[in-house]
């Protein structure tokens, strides 16, 4: 269709503008996440420069983290009214003396002799963190001239980024990512990896899927196949559908009282009475996290089941009945297999929703730091009474509550990327499954 009238053109352009803005927003957010998330582990160039303050000059080694331009008003508000230029850079200096700040702002006009010396090295020390300096065997010389002894045991990794080729950098990059995903956090979540959070999220979500699948499908089958279609059932169906829209935090509130205090408290009194008042199950833990997530996603699965069942052609059922099959036989041999992709999609979408959930889990067992993984070597291989860490909560906690914000912030982008990747691949899987089964089904039914 074309647009011929002025109003039509205005509508066209305005609607195009809206779409454009939405697409740009999506683009900017995705790019931001990708750029910040990926650049964390890309070996940055190490710089060396002279910093002049008054009559003193100081040699600085470091990595440029960010640049900023302050307007005169901002300079004024920050108490630097006398400055002419508002250009400044944030430099990560690493460890350079006890009690010295790792990150420091430098005004651009106080800097001179900017070079990228190839021999400058980055050493990640087991206890001191990252150190920048020139390395000789067993020693490292810092920018201020002090020399530290390095024993091989202390060095986590060592590299000279200015000498690396792109391929080498890529190797370092992938190794860093692997370490990020496979080690435990250090220094109050501001260094190290995210393994416990990753395991916690995956485990709680898998447990949730185990719980919600049979329950949700059973309820959905009941609602769609067995319940008589009266006014009451319609009302119930409407309510169940709308429970999906009830804020997740409300489910969290309910879960805290009903599961943790109620159910967990009773289990403790019945089976772990000897350990009381030390609670075993009557305290936030993995099992309650999974149950809460299951409760939260139950309406989603029920709705998906019902929709899947509704889409099965009536002719299929009638054919089954015509051959003398009972209702159960029609259901289990004909309807459910045909509806399976829809059910699967519903469950995958429920999982992807659960993986990003944070607010309700704050009450029921997700914590800042859990010292051990909720796994064990004997059956059932998991410890449901342990507290867990989760990716979503790490984003909230490390992002906003960390004491070392400059070091923590880039990590959060990386964690967010991992979470987004997880959820994205689940969504993609659901989409592909739906398409695949739909194609197969149309082929079989035609």
């Amino acid at each position: 269709m074309t647009t011929k009238t002025p109003q039509g053109r205005v509508l066209l352009w305005f609607s195009a503008l809206a779409s454009g803005i939405i697409l740009l927003m999506l683009c900017v957010v995705s790019m931001l996440m990708l750029y910040r998330g990926l650049s964390l582990f890309w070996p940055a160039q190490l710089v060396q420069f002279q910093y002049t303050q008054g009559t003193q000059t100081e040699k600085i080694y470091g990595e440029v983290v960010s640049r900023q331009h302050l307007t005169p008003q901002q300079l004024h508000a920050a108490g630097h009214a006398e400055r002419v230029s508002g250009e400044r850079i944030l430099v990560k200096q690493g460890y350079h003396g006890v009690g010295q700040a790792t990150f420091r702002w430098f005004w651009q006009d106080t800097i001179s002799d900017w070079v990228l010396p190839p021999e400058l090295a980055l050493v990640e020390h087991a206890t001191l963190g990252e150190i920048y300096g020139t390395v000789s065997v067993g020693f490292i010389t810092l920018a201020n001239g002090t020399t530290l002894t390095l024993s091989a045991a202390d060095i986590v990794r060592q590299l000279q980024p200015n000498k690396l080729t792109t391929l080498d950098k890529l190797k370092v990059f992938s190794k860093q990512w692997w370490q990020f995903l496979s080690t435990a956090p250090r220094e109050a979540n501001s260094a190290g990896g995210i393994l416990p959070a990753l395991v916690g999220t995956l485990l709680s979500v898998m447990l949730m899927a185990l719980l919600v699948t049979p329950i949700g499908i059973m309820a959905g089958v009941y609602l769609h196949e067995y319940a008589r279609d009266g006014r009451l059932v319609r009302l119930v169906r409407l309510s169940v559908h709308n429970l999906a829209g009830v804020p997740s935090v409300v489910f969290g509130v309910f879960a805290l009282v009903f599961f943790v205090y109620g159910l967990g408290g009773s289990i403790d009194q019945l089976f772990y009475a000897d350990k009381l008042p030390q609670p075993t199950f009557g305290t936030p833990s993995l099992i309650w996290v999974s149950l809460t997530l299951a409760l939260l996603t139950l309406p989603v699965v029920i709705v998906a089941t019902e929709e899947g069942l509704a889409r099965v052609p009536v002719s299929l059922r009638l054919g089954g009945y015509g051959l003398g099959a009972t209702k159960a036989e029609v259901l289990y041999k004909l309807v459910l297999p045909v509806a399976r992709p829809a059910l699967l999609t519903g469950i995958i979408l429920a999982i992807s929703r659960a993986a990003g959930e944070v607010a309700p889990l704050l009450f029921v067992g997700v914590v800042k730091y859990a010292p051990t993984l909720p796994l064990s070597q004997q059956w059932p291989f998991i410890q449901p009474e342990q507290q867990i860490m989760s990716l979503g909560f790490q984003i909230y906690d490390v992002g906003l509550q960390s004491s070392n914000a400059d070091a923590a912030e880039p990590r959060v982008y990386a964690i967010a990327m991992v979470l987004l990747f997880l959820i994205g691949s689940l969504n993609l899987l659901a989409m592909q499954l739906r398409r695949y089964y739909r194609m197969k089904m149309t082929k079989r039914l035609s």
Partner: protein
Amino acid sequence: MTPDTSSRLPTGSKRRWRTFRRKAIDRSWRVLIALAGGSIILALLAIFLYLLAEAAPLFKPVSAKLQVIPSVATDIATPAVTPPQWQQLQQSSGFIADYELVDGQKRYLILARRNGEACLISLTQAEKGCVQRLSLTDRTVELTTVVWLAGQQTLVSGDSSGQLKQWFLLPDAQGQLRLSWIKPFATRAAAVVAISPEQARSGFAVLDARGEVSLFYSALSKPLWQQVFPAFAGQADTLQFTPRNNGIWVFNQQDAVGYLAVDNAHPEISLRTLWQKIWYESWVQPEYVWQSSDGAELQQGKYSLVPLTIGTFKAAFYAILVAVPLAVFAAIYCVCFLAEPWRTTLSHLIELMAMFPTVIIGFLAAIWLAPAVEQYLLALLIFIIITPITVFVLAHYWRLFPRKVQLLAGRGGELFVVFLLIFACTAIALWLGDIADNALFADGLHNWLELHGVLYQQRNALVVGLAMGFAVMPIIFSLSYDALSQIPRQLALGAYALGATQWQIVQKVLLPLASPGILAAVMLGFSRAIGETMIILMATGNNPISNFNVFEGLRSLTATLTIELPEAAVDSSHYRVLFLAAILLFVFTFLTNTLADLVRQHLRRNLQRLES
């Protein structure tokens, strides 16, 4: 007919047995599924009832029963008769008093006589004498009692006409503390005999000459409970609360003459304290306050749900303001102007936005968006103004462009043009913003705003609106898209055949038919925004204020739950009020969703009728 011997079907009893077994399996499945499914659904619906049961004790009426005096009087504490300590001061100031009271910080002395005259003396400047003289009664009646409530911030006086009055020490215009009349409590039918403050709580009990005992809470004028005990008329002179406030001793001349068992767990919660302005102790005026724990020694929980509700709606309102125009217009664009396969691609892309977990959006809003908005606020405002104007102008003069360029429109090419336009507008807005900032606001826009009475906080409703708008956009978009694309194609084609223009089709055919669906989409988006937690938690300052200023933060019901529930003591008033907040959220979102659902069903039925 002869039996078919080649049939593999069993015959006779074997066949009957098999039929029976199949039927039994069918029946047992039916029972199993009905039981399991039904109970799951009932349990799901019972969540609401469970929440209600947790919050219900808040509104349980206060009751007290006369009991036999417990023989083991462990928690009995005979009211201490304080000997007059300030006689010297009384003499030096020339005010000989019957009652003397010192405030909690031992800085002020209040002297009162039986005729109601009172005098306030500053203990740090005792030589000045009375800094304030006033009358605690109407002069014609006699002051019978005056006491501090727990925490020594509130004075309650009772007189022989049965009137009860509340007094605070409040600063006047010069900053001098003065004893100020706050409000009367409900008048008793007979002269007030005794007032007894609760322990560590701002309630009190009153005994009058008829023997009536009544319970009050300092923030409420009406009594929580009252009952006449003729046995106490003239036979009792003092009341005393037990340490846990679950009983009142009645004394006559130091002898216990009665014991009342009191059930008054949550005096600070009532519909009035939750929803109306309350004048709290040592506040200058009545206000809506949410302050679940204050610094004062005395825990007087201030649980007004008004700031939280306003915060919730404020955030949702700005989110909707951002999301609805963008999402609905984008849906119109997809359905009316884009052809396949671009239509599916674009709608999938926009629906992809739903994938972003809200905690990530909240993080980006707090760490990246909030500082950016603060720095480029003026540019953002200019962008919001100039972009639609530019688009409007472009639409009007599009015909003047060369024919080759004109062909771009209507085939997806306009998206490309729009991108260029947005970039251009952004650049212009940044440039203009810089100029305007230097020219108009010498100290920066924020100081200018503050000078004109508008507070600017970095994490404000604007940031939340943008971030949450991003979060609710996909749901509004996909529902509007559904509503628009469900409309039978022949309607639009018919109108087209009759010579209607595109604009007329959209205006007269598509929009009227789809408007209920779009309305439902907006409602669902709104309800989603009401229930959103992480974005609000991270991107606002979480301070409970009751205004709609875009540049100030807010605190929502959901964020309050997240922050405070893990810390609230189980079964305390605070804990139960949080449940009330959860119920409020539940009811509101549930009703909105139901309404939206009904609207959509109605729409679907209408369209089916049109199609047939």
